[in-house]
Amino acid sequence: MNYEAPNTLDAASALLADAQGEARVLAGGTDLLIQMRNGDVDPGLVVDVKNIDEMRSITTESGRFRVGAAVSGIEIMDHAAFNAAWPGVVDGVSLIGSIQVRGRASMGGNLCNASPAADSVPALIAAGALASISGPNGRRDVPVEEIAIAPGKTSLAKGEIVASFLFPERPKRSGGCYLRFIPRTEMDIAVVGAGVDLTLDENGTCTHAKVSLGAVAARALVVEDGAAALIGSKVDEPALEKLAAAASGAARPIDDKRGTKDFRIHVSGVLARRAALTAVERARQN
């Protein structure tokens, strides 16, 4: 195996694009090194992207946050201004693995590993974050929901790297929340995850909302009916009931040892509703 740690995105993309055999991006390594150890992947080339400035920094551009795709979870959790603006995303990040894992694991890796149960992904989708991609043909920004297409598979072309996440402007009275269900209290994989992000007007009426579910389909889902149920409402009981029904209706989970299909469908509605309640509470204080 060859190991490279270039300083620029162009150099990293060129290495990946020119690779003959299997090539992998190394950010935190908390998925990649396990896959290598298990023999699931046997890359001839590993490109460590942690020497690339954009991928390791949290910046603002005219009031919009840009978070490097290789920034570790702990660094995100420790960033006070980002926490204040995007608490739902921080909810998702802070549920990934243990302290040790979050010391390394990144949102870019969480997204590109393409697990349907990735905790930061529904939160990023609800937040309306764009994945800012660098590749041999230049840059493109796409909504986060378009990256993972199936378990372990992404829509990225050869040589493309998710360099950073670009967040929208954050209007006043906005809030978000991500919740997951697991049978234990820490260190487990989501049985269901739900992210809700919303904005209220001066009267407390919801003017914008986005809802996403994780672990209940082959990739994280956008629940448009759920957002529609909130927009125009005061996020009151009838709106929350509609949201829960839309989330349960959108879920198409599998049965496995961690949860039955019926249970996951039910919990999708419960979590979407609870996430919306916390998102509203946060929006009112923001």
Partner: protein
């Protein structure tokens, strides 16, 4: 690719080693540098037995490549005691009998030290959440948590 030459700092001392590009930092510590205090439990980042800090961040060394240590500062269990003088956490683990077989102990100590550097006065719940990435299969967690809380109290008085 040939073995790679890596220059790093381990427990405050400059160190350099040769390693395979796909060799984990855990394997480098144990097999190239004969620093066997850091233990391998699961090898998949679930048990925390291989905990070290890199530039102050607590990580599982089984999930880090040796080559990634280039230019970094690594702290392992070997850097915890100063000669014969044990770290207060080590003393309290002994006093509370917070270990049986000992395989998880270096990881717990390194993780607990990282907690107390960040938060000198953690609640019991905070200790339990912080140590959720460290597994013990012998003694259970009660004595470990008590030892950490007791060490924190003593270190605050010092």
């Amino acid at each position: 690719m040939a073995r790679q030459h890596v220059t790093t700092t381990i427990n405050g001392d400059e160190a350099d080693f040769l390693c395979e590009p796909d060799q984990t930092l855990l394997s480098v510590l144990r097999e190239e540098l004969q620093m066997t205090g850091t233990k391998e439990g699961c090898g998949t980042g679930d048990c925390g037995a291989c905990s070290v800090t890199i530039d102050g961040r607590l990580v599982c060394s089984c999930l880090v490549l040796g080559v990634e240590a280039e230019g970094k500062s690594v702290e392992t269990i070997e850097g915890m005691a100063h000669g014969e003088a044990l770290h207060p956490l080590q003393t309290k683990f002994l006093e509370h009998a917070a270990l049986q077989c000992g395989i998880c102990t270096p990881g717990f100590l390194v993780a607990a030290r990282a907690l107390l550097e960040k938060n000198p006065d953690p609640s019991e719940t905070e200790v339990r959440f912080w140590l959720a990435g460290n597994l013990c299969r012998c003694t259970g967690y009660q004595k470990i948590v008590e030892a950490v809380l007791d060490a924190a109290e003593e270190m605050r008085k010092a």
